[in-house]
């Protein structure tokens, strides 16, 4: 069997090669699909930090995906209409610069996670799931009922935002950008997992009593993990909005939270590269089975059932040898 690190390399390489081949074959739609996989995988990598590593089963990560999306939508729509977001007490203008949008998306998501986390991390288990779900629905209904930014219909952004030195409207260039972001985040999270913080976070997951007994404030560790996790998912939300040039309240819905969770389960809970494999399988199924039957989600359901019952390590676990998390 493969070592997990080798399998990870293969997965990342495949994600890079497919759009390059599609470029050679002049199949731009495949490039767009690969971009979608990359962005959704990023959202999954974010959630996986909280859910996999930290054991925090958040059913509210759509909040951060949506906030990332709306950060992009709101900033870009103001840039598009040349109207400032706010004039007093100080001027805030819209922007169509991706780096600025990303920073705003990350900061907004982290702040929201701080608030949601402070309130929800007092609970655990099923209650934590329910509280995060409830917060998610609050954001969803708020987005629907807030007419300034499209309400239920969402917001259309006509031109993709810009990144210095790139033409983001060229599919392969936008893919390359998203892929680079994903690689950077994977590098960051792999460092994190192997750090003292990562050890404390898994320790708090595997045996909270033990972690506290050695002097670790597990609530704080979890809160920090939740915030970082939200920042990553928020960044993915901003990219997703840019991919579609459209944001809508659907990004906040619990379906979105569930979908991100499905990537993780399919790929392998707590496996760093799991969400990439999971998102790829999901998008492939959605695209090819979806073309063939409207009820493709039934097949997805069956696959999920199989994974949960018989292959809990997901795709990565099924295809590779288990390696210690901290070696």
């Amino acid at each position: 069997m493969l070592r997990e690190t080798h399998l990870n390399g293969i997965i990342l390489l495949a994600l890079l090669i497919v759009p390059l081949v599609a470029l050679a074959l002049n199949e731009p739609f495949i490039i767009t699909l690969a971009t979608k996989v990359t962005i959704l995988a990023l959202a999954g990598v974010g959630l996986n930090l909280a859910l996999g590593q930290g054991g925090l089963i958040s059913f509210g990560h759509a909040i951060f995906f949506g906030l990332g999306g709306y950060s992009m939508g709101i900033l870009a729509s103001h840039a598009q209409s040349f109207t400032p977001l706010m004039e007093a007490p100080f001027l805030i203008e819209g922007t169509n610069l991706m780096p600025v949008i990303w920073i705003v998306a990350i900061v907004v998501s982290c702040l929201a996670a701080l608030l949601v986390g402070l309130l929800s991390l007092r609970t655990s288990g099923v209650y934590f799931i329910m509280v995060t779900l409830a917060f998610g629905q609050m954001f969803y209904y708020f987005a629907i009922s807030w007419p300034a930014y499209g309400g239920e219909d969402g917001l259309v952004i006509f031109v993709r935002n810009e990144f210095p030195g790139l033409n983001t409207l060229v599919p392969i260039q936008f893919f390359g950008l998203c892929f680079a972001v994903l690689c950077a985040v994977l590098f960051f999270v792999s460092k994190l997992n192997k750090s003292a913080f990562g050890l404390a976070l898994s320790g708090a997951h595997f045996n909270p009593e033990r972690a506290e007994t050695v002097g670790i404030d597990i609530t704080r560790v979890r809160l920090v993990a939740f915030v970082i996790s939200a920042g990553i998912t928020g960044l993915a939300g901003a990219l997703f909005a840019d991919l579609n040039r459209f944001v809508s309240p659907t990004m906040f819905s619990w379906h979105t939270s569930g979908q991100i969770m499905i990537f993780i389960i399919l790929g392998g809970v707590a496996r760093l590269y799991g969400p990439i494999a999971g998102a790829a399988v999901y998008i492939i199924l959605e695209h090819y089975l979806g073309a063939f039957s409207e009820y493709w989600q039934i097949y997805l359901g069956l696959i999920l059932l199989f994974v949960v019952l018989f292959a809990q390590g997901g795709l990565i676990g099924g295809l590779s040898k288990r390696e210690a998390a901290h070696d």
Partner: protein, 252 residues
């Protein structure tokens, strides 16, 4: 007179009608092993939990180094220097032995919020971790998954993790349980050395170990301490013999 490191004053804890702690007062002095003995269900573990945190007394106080800690959380008490081992091993089973020990070092050094340095490659941690493992005799199992350890080895690991905290006092809840004669003897020798580093409040059913180690013994029955004294005093105490030592070979 020297001040006690740990001082429990008039602690009460009831579970419904059951008085698990019924006005317990007890001191742990520097340099001593204070054994807490008593029949099953007497309330020994309940008292340890109230000292270590995680269970709040209905009434009464706990002082550590002269400072009241009754309102502190488990991790705050640990950081003050209370090292604890559990009656039922509480370890991260998915971790390797070494990871469990390094987790202890991370907690002890307060370096939880270090995000980039690979902790399992940090020479300072590794050296201290291997040293702690060596002291309890687990040096050959550093890379073993904790779930694969025998019961006795888990008890040893509990002690190793407590050592990493370099505590000012140890709370040990039946560290000998399930160790077997050989293991108990080894641990008895080890605890005798350890008390030079920090005093130990030792809950133990193994009377050989208790009589060999204890400087003082307190006897807990139905949530009340019925006697405190030296080994000789406790052995001679008629009330204790009736309540607890009654059926045992007291002359052992």
């Amino acid at each position: 007179m020297t001040e006690p490191i740990l001082s429990v004053r008039d602690v009460h804890k009831a579970f419904g009608a059951l008085k698990a702690s019924d006005g317990i007062s007890l001191d742990l002095m520097p340099g001593e092993i204070h054994a807490l003995i008593g029949p099953n269900g007497a309330g020994k573990s309940t008292l340890i939990k109230q000292i270590a945190g995680g269970l709040t007394p209905d009434r009464g106080t706990v002082h550590f180094e002269g400072r009241e800690i009754s309102g502190d959380t488990v991790y705050e008490r640990a950081r003050l220097g209370l090292g604890r081992t559990f009656q039922i091993s509480a370890l991260a089973m998915q971790f390797t032995v070494l990871e469990n020990v390094v987790l202890g070092l991370v907690g002890e050094s307060g370096s939880v919020f270090r995000f980039f340095r690979p902790v399992m490659k940090d020479p300072a941690y590794l050296e201290r971790a291997h040293h702690a493992l060596k002291r309890v005799g687990l040096q050959d199992h550093a890379q073993t998954k904790t779930a694969e350890l025998s019961h006795g080895q888990r008890r040893q690991l509990e002690v190793a993790v407590a050592l990493t905290l370099e505590p000012k006092a140890f709370l040990m809840d039946e560290p000998m349980a399930g160790l077997g004669a050989e293991g108990s003897k080894a641990l008895t020798g080890f605890l005798r050395e350890l008390k030079a580093e920090a005093p130990i409040l030792l809950v133990e059913h193994d009377m050989d170990a208790v009589f060999a180690l204890a400087d003082r013994i307190s006897v807990l029955v139905y949530g009340k301490i019925i006697a405190t004294g030296s080994v000789a005093e406790i052995r001679a105490n008629p009330e204790v013999r009736a309540a607890y030592l009654g059926d045992e070979e007291v002359e052992a």
